[in-house]
């Protein structure tokens, strides 16, 4: 696998989009979190809302892992774009065929893309940890790994997004079209998820059947729903109306879809004409 990754590195290292998106991603994670931090600092200091918030600081070590994981999730669209471009380019320029002709197996071809998607998720997670640590250090609070499991959820979310990107790329094969379908799908799933969530509340109220929030059982929303902004005085809603949060069920569903996307991508590459 290391040899296969070296081949991917030869393709990547001179690819301008890789460099540009990579830089934007790293800066993006830092800047987004820094902006959230600044907004909160200003609020606490000067506004009336700050009084309400009291001592709540999203970037102290108690909350930082959750805040950074949640906030950085929005930047994951960048590695997704890059992955779609990398995989669909192989089809556009028929280099996938050339790789196979030169002696790569079809299985190696898809597996190394999946490993690349995993590696992107690992690197994203590492930057989240670094950013979280750096910003939390500025708050002067005591180091803590409280809520560090949120970083794990961020990793799961990154894996879900990236595997979905690889699956769409091998399914659609055209760069622009795949990116378009990705956005449309994400919007559609979010709308459906919200409708399902409302429906879940209705089911709970009407029949006392507590199925959890059905919206979070959808492929992308499963890992999305694991991440949220830390609890704070602003978020004091009437919790009892919400269905129970079946945490482990949601994690299992997210993992199930990750495996499904891999299996489908692999099946397409192994059985179809290239």
């Amino acid at each position: 696998m290391l040899e296969l990754l070296k081949i991917e590195w030869l393709k990547l290292k001179n690819y301008k989009a890789f460099l540009i998106i990579g830089i934007f991603f790293i800066i993006g994670i830092f800047v987004t979190n820094y902006m959230v931090l600044t907004v909160f600092n200003k609020m606490v200091d000067k506004t009336e809302a700050g009084m309400l918030l009291g001592k709540f600081m999203p970037y102290d070590f108690k909350h930082v892992w959750q805040t950074t994981s949640y906030t950085s999730g929005y930047i994951l669209i960048l590695p997704v774009m890059l992955l779609i471009m990398l995989v669909t380019n192989e089809f556009t320029y028929k280099t996938n065929r050339q790789n196979i002709i030169d002696g790569l197996s079809r299985l190696d071809f898809i597996n190394v893309k999946i490993v690349l998607a995993t590696l992107f998720a690992v690197i994203s997670t590492i930057f989240v940890v670094i950013t979280g640590f750096a910003l939390a250090s500025t708050t002067g609070t005591e180091f803590s790994l409280h809520g560090f499991s949120q970083v794990g959820y961020f990793f799961l979310k990154a894996i879900s997004y990236n595997f979905f990107a690889v699956f769409l790329s091998v399914l659609i094969k055209r760069t622009g079209f795949a990116i378009g379908v990705y956005f449309i799908y994400m919007s559609a799933e979010n709308i459906i998820a919200q409708l399902l969530d409302v429906w879940s509340m209705k089911i709970k109220a009407d029949s006392k059947l507590d199925l959890g929030s059905l919206g979070s059982y959808l492929p992308m929303n499963a890992s999305d729903s694991l991440l949220s902004f830390p609890e704070n005085p602003f978020k004091s809603m009437a919790k009892s109306a919400f269905p129970t949060d079946y945490h482990y069920l949601t994690i299992s569903i997210a993992v199930f879809f990750v495996v499904l996307f891999y299996w489908l991508s692999r099946r397409i590459i192994l059985t179809k004409d290239l």
């Binding site: 030869l10 320029y93 065929r97």
Partner: protein
């Protein structure tokens, strides 16, 4: 040893049958031409052998074994069009190919030199002309000096000088004992370099074997006299005659290869009281033979 054994290979694209139960064998050390007009299934067949297409039926063997990835690493292949990373240079692209083939990078400069791209070896592939792209694809096939070369329309997009260069390259590789499988719709290309040939038409194999057996050449003699019908009638009694027909105001007489003797033909006619106004020996062109076979 056989390099490639194709056994009842078929491929459908929906209702279209691109290949219909094609079988033939490529022995080691041959230059095997796969001849056929556009759309006859040449590339489809090679695509299946290279595992980029899936067959609908039948199978094939490489090096007398069930095909696997390591076989392809031992072959240098140019299939259909040059496929390279457009933002990478010739050298960078060949590094990727060398790594996939699990060969060192030390052969890259040699093949770039052989195909005449040394001047532009560090320019991005996207800046290459069609001919240069084709040259790089041939260079990539030569990488690591493989024992088997599969070349699909190798002279596509090349200028006359390039075509001549590639032909002499193929012949020098063949003289080193390499097996070359070459698909082409260019008849003279196949005639000039191939020892064996398989002819495909609409996905069907219509002939395969030694090029001298398949593309048997005949001597064609063109004759004319004031009375063509009388000339034709008289010639029916000429010894060893294969066929005879009137075509474009001349009589065409086919004789076994190398047996046409202009002097004796002229004497034969004169002895039978016919004075010829035209007498010419014509080699039967491969093109005519090809049209005969495929029509």
């Amino acid at each position: 040893m056989n390099i490639l054994t194709i056994d009842n290979l078929s491929k459908n694209y929906g209702k279209i049958q691109a290949l219909q139960q094609v079988s033939f064998t490529v022995p080691k050390g041959t230059v095997y031409g796969i001849l056929g007009p556009n759309g006859s299934g040449k590339t489809t067949m090679l695509g299946i052998v290279m595992d980029v297409l899936k067959s609908s039926g039948g199978g094939f063997k490489l090096f007398d074994e069930m095909p696997n990835d390591s076989h392809r690493k031992r072959m240098g292949t140019l299939l259909e069009t040059p496929n390279f990373y457009h933002y990478l240079s010739a050298v960078q692209n060949l590094k990727i190919a060398a790594k996939i083939k699990q060969r060192g990078e030390d052969d890259i400069d040699r093949v770039i030199e052989v195909v005449g791209l040394a001047q532009r070896k560090n320019s991005p592939f996207s800046s290459y002309s069609l001919g240069m792209k084709q040259r790089l694809a041939i260079g990539s096939a030569l990488l690591g000096n493989p024992e088997v070369l599969v070349l699909d329309e190798p002279t596509n997009g090349l200028d006359p000088v390039g075509i001549a260069e590639i032909r002499s390259l193929i012949m020098s590789l063949a003289s080193q004992g390499k097996t070359i499988i070459m698909a082409s719709h260019m008849l003279d290309e196949v005639e000039k370099v191939c020892t064996h040939v398989a002819i495909l038409k609409y996905g069907k194999l219509i002939a395969s074997g030694d090029v001298n057996e398949i593309l048997v050449n005949e001597d064609v003699v063109e004759l004319a006299a004031s009375n063509l019908d009388a000339l034709k009638n008289m010639l029916t009694s000429f010894p060893n005659i294969l066929s005879l027909q009137i075509k474009d105001k001349v009589v065409q007489m086919n004789l076994p290869q190398g047996t046409a003797n202009m002097e004796s033909i002229n004497k034969f006619c004169f002895d039978n009281n016919i004075v010829l106004t035209h007498l010419q020996l014509k080699k039967k062109s491969l093109e005519t033979k090809f049209l005969e076979l495929t029509n």
